[in-house]
Symmetry: C2
């Protein structure tokens, strides 16, 4: 059943039916309800393909996920972000186009999306320092929103958490507990967020004149085994840390395993703080948080990012939107005074 047939069955023109269905004011209330009823009766839904062509809007937002062949460990994070964004898209009538491309082809992918008009805007995740995507998208004139930001910051829309401040606060917390040999297990520092977190850590240490130890600072894709292996070798080596700062709960789980193997009790013999993205399947709450953590829901971020992006699409020419979220520190059972 298409619009024309529906119109014929109602003895109305397609124009009127279209307007009735889309809520235009030029149609009498009585007619509108008659049309609505008929549409529902025959289960009519306007053909999305035709509608998109006619309106020139794709009603679709693109997420381009670069595949590095190895480090898509980010994917539990992507997944939660996607869910948060997807809920908002659905609510606002937008579709979500997910595109997985080899990292080397992301530029081509964006150009393609822009040229063939299959999306109205795109979401950019996990920016690297000096991420080329930002310049590209600006040039292409495709609305976009960055989750995170790049070094210089600037004239584009983004939403980010205060990574530096969060890690500075977390480090201060450990320092206040008397810890001095603090290890940082960070994400890959090519990502801007990891870079900021390290700077937060270093700033806190420097402010107290505590030296940072190079062998206690590592950064890599955030996996459980990274946490386990790094913590193991640090704990077995000279000058073992008395506290760990980790960029994700997954890393912290690995650290915990290494500590447990060595008979170290969390919160007594060893302290751990991590950043918790509140991933839905990695609940850090069992009657109070297990790990002391800086905490910020990645899913909520996804939702808010979607809202902003849709707004950007609906109101082109509006100035860039920038939103910085502060992050709370939740004290759990994994931290305690230093006794090393």
């Amino acid at each position: 059943m298409n619009l024309k047939e529906l119109a014929e069955s109602l003895n109305l023109s397609p124009t009127t039916v279209s307007r009735a269905l889309n809520g235009y004011p030029e149609v009498r209330e009585e007619t509108r309800s008659r049309v609505m009823a008929a549409a529902k009766a025959v289960n009519y839904a306007p053909n999305a393909r035709a509608r998109r062509l006619a309106t020139g809007r794709a009603m679709t937002i693109g997420h381009v996920i670069p595949l590095t062949g190895r480090a898509e460990m980010v994917n539990p994070i992507f997944a939660d972000f996607l869910i948060g964004a997807g809920e908002v898209y659905a609510r606002e009538g937008y579709d979500l186009l997910l595109s997985m491309v080899p990292e080397t082809e992301t530029e081509a992918a964006f150009r393609q999306l822009a040229a063939n008009g299959s999306v109205d805007g795109v979401m950019v995740q996990a920016p690297q320092e000096n991420d080329p995507r930002i310049g590209l998208l600006t040039e292409l004139g495709l609305p976009f929103l960055v989750h995170g930001r790049t070094g210089d910051a600037m004239d584009y829309s983004w939403l980010d958490i205060a990574n530096m401040r969060a890690f500075r606060r977390a480090t201060d917390f450990l320092l206040d507990l008397g810890h001095r040999r603090i290890a940082l297990l960070n994400g890959q520092e090519s990502f801007d967020f990891a870079h900021r977190r390290r700077r937060g850590f270093e700033a806190a240490m420097a402010a107290r004149h505590v030296p940072t130890l190079p062998h206690l600072m590592v950064s890599e894709a955030m996996t459980e085994s990274f946490g386990y292996l790094s913590a193991s070798s640090m704990l077995d080596g000279p000058e073992p840390p008395t506290a760990f700062l980790a960029s994700s709960v997954i890393i912290a789980i690995g650290i915990r395993r290494a500590a447990a193997e060595r008979g170290l009790r969390m919160g007594r013999d060893i302290s751990i703080i991590c950043h918790d993205d509140e991933l839905s399947y990695l609940n850090n709450d069992i009657g109070g948080p297990a790990f002391t953590a800086t905490r910020s829901s990645i899913r909520a971020a996804g939702g808010r990012c979607a809202e902003i992006l849709i707004d950007l699409i609906r109101h082109p020419g509006r100035p860039a939107v920038q939103e910085l979220w502060d992050v709370g520190l939740m004290v759990g059972q994994s931290t305690g005074p230093c006794n090393g």
Copy 2:
């Protein structure tokens, strides 16, 4: 730049240009390359919206993810599956439409997709026993592929792993090692896969006349804390298990934590086998598998599912395709003879 303009600039008709670009034989090789060159020069890409309308094909495949508000812990699994499928879609020129809807609205979502023609087919994941989606999609005439299957099996296309056989084999392995009190930490049994796994476990036990103990069989969303809490209470309770069989690596990590806390060494004091979906961020290989595991890549499954679904879309009316993957058991360091 659109087709018409491009044609004018070449002094050709839109027809010819379209054919040249799409590889039809009615155009001279020389003309074709002239067109191709011009298209590349001006960075022309056919408008996807117009093309979809003209061809009647959406060149898009839908994944509908039901949100239960709580148990989207499945999402690390969804994510890897999506990546596998997405790679194939990209290769074959299909877009991936991801739709997150509250569980109660999945039926409406499918009807909508079918009626407005925004997808050519859909992927169904994590079927429940007697999953209503299968009947619905059949009725709607929308091509679909199920990853997993439902109780009765039957006249639709699916790809699944041999869950029952895998868990039977894993259980046999533990029984051969002398274990008798074996605990099963399963996923939610409303999902078909979990149901089959339990039957595999029970069949193996029954074949050796070893009783299954109700208090050692639990099933819930597959999280680390589920593994930890269940294992903790089992180990502290009467008749503690000497071995665990877990439906996912994440659960196994939780079990390991509970064991470590109690000073039990994996592979000596306690044995653990799990099913490993080879999630990219949960590597179970650090010079040989850490956990003994039945192993099957969910990402590879995603890729193969995508291939089959595309095939189904391209050749309607073809009989249903059914593919059952056998699963290997990889012996790691987490199992050993029973000495309980």
